[in-house]
Amino acid sequence: MSLVDVNTFVGAHPHRHVPHPEAGILARVLEREQVDGAWVGYLPSAFADDVVAENDALFAELAPHSERLLPAPVVRPDRPGWEAELARCAAIGAPVIRAYPEHWGMIPGDRALTALGDACAEARLPLVLTVQLEDHARRDWPGAPADLGAAAIAKLMRGARAVHVVVTAAAGPLVEETTAMLSAGERSRLWWDISWIAGPPRDDLARLFASLGADRFLYGSQWPLRLTQTPRANLDLLPAPLRAAPLATVEDLDAA
């Protein structure tokens, strides 16, 4: 069983400076923090219209570090040829696919996103969604996306009936709100990363571990946007009985 950071990126953010978002740095950071590997997205692709070239850049950037850094490419189901791009990503060995429905102006229940969910399920690739790349107070450029909402996540889980979904960068209240909208079966295909879930004094992470189980949550930092030390610090500050509870692993997603 290995510890994988499911929420990392390389590449520049188009609207703000991010220090050293390079694969070589990420590989060293993971080694220092004793994290075995990472699913790595490409920040420019979250904002791109044509993601194929961005995916190529991601694959090239990660190639020298392929043992530890696994690509999380983007497929835009609202663009022609997306099925072929999904097949190409699967053939290259991507373990997951990323999507940014809020960046693409999709409403909850968007049929293209549901189709992507179905296709990911068919290809046995989990779909990774991102609630936010930065706090809303920081999102000050024209056309900046809103946070991904509970309705969008719930409608995807309901519409694409077999897809496994990992939602990253959700705060505790969104996890609770979304969970309340889903059936047990739908919840069993949904995992959350812990990068944006508050620790003490709000104690959202402790409350969610107690109510949903730690095995619905994956290790995630949102490096290079946020400090890589935050998720481990959050786990260290849990009440003692919860501190020992094992998180979900990426292997659990395959097995579910």
Partner: protein, 243 residues
């Protein structure tokens, strides 16, 4: 080594979540090794009425009395209710600093009276608005001012640039969004003597920043200054001068 949390924040005294949040904070303080926490509010801008402010200050005072050296407190005052603000400061003889709460306007007449009173009583003044501090700092050169919660998710680059030239402003790096690069930028712009460590509304971010500081490796003297030395000096705690 001592560790002073200059932003030991809790929900407001009227929030039903206060008791559970205090328990969670206590648990985390033990794990992190915080030796003194200075009590303040997670969202001071939402504390507006005189009644709320009084309850807040009563609770903070009671905690500080019960906890001894473990808990100190900011007296909450609102420039929007001037007469009340002055009375709260006068009655808070054991508070170590002033926290500006409620809506803030650098041009409100009462805000200068509050800062002047804080200077007379040798109390630092804390608020989360760089704009307000930029106006106050030159008007009150003897004041010790603290920019609160730089890491709370807003435009910290701009806030940092705004206060960097103001040598009587220190910066508390606490906040719920521990952005990578913020700590390095603060150290670069301000130097080690104007940086205060705290946890704010997200104690995991505070712990992560301590661990990030160890990775940055600025030297023992700087680490000591950020962990407790600067806070002890600014808040006039015992043993204030770092060795």
């Amino acid at each position: 080594m001592r560790l002073i949390d200059v932003s030991a924040a809790l929900p407001s005294a009227v929030d039903p979540a206060w008791v559970a949040a205090r328990g969670a904070r206590r648990r985390a303080e033990e794990v992190i090794g915080i030796t003194t926490g200075i009590r303040c509010a997670i969202e001071p801008e939402r504390i507006t009425s005189p009644e709320e402010i009084e309850r807040e200050n009563d609770l903070r005072r009671a905690e500080a009395i019960a906890d001894g050296e473990r808990t100190a407190w900011y007296v909450a005052v609102s420039p929007a209710v001037p007469a009340h603000a002055r009375r709260e400061i006068l009655e808070a003889s054991d508070a170590v600093a002033v926290e500006l709460v409620g809506p803030l306007d650098a041009d409100a007449p009462a805000i200068d009276d509050i800062v002047a009173e804080a200077v007379r009583r040798q109390l630092p003044v804390r608020c989360a608005s760089a704009d307000v501090l930029a106006a106050l700092a030159p008007r009150h050169p003897a004041a010790r001012l603290i920019l609160a919660r730089l890491g709370d998710g807003g435009r910290w680059h701009s806030a940092l640039n705004t206060v960097a030239p103001l040598t009587n402003v220190l910066v508390d790096v606490s906040g719920r969004v521990a952005e990578r690069g913020m700590l390095d930028a603060v150290l670069f712009e301000l130097g080690p003597k104007r940086v205060l460590w705290g946890t704010g509304g997200a104690m995991e971010s505070g712990l992560a920043q301590l661990r990030a500081l160890a990775v940055i490796g600025p030297g023992d003297e700087t680490v000591e200054a950020i962990r407790w030395g600067n806070a002890a000096r600014v808040f006039r705690f015992a043993g204030a001068r770092p060795r």
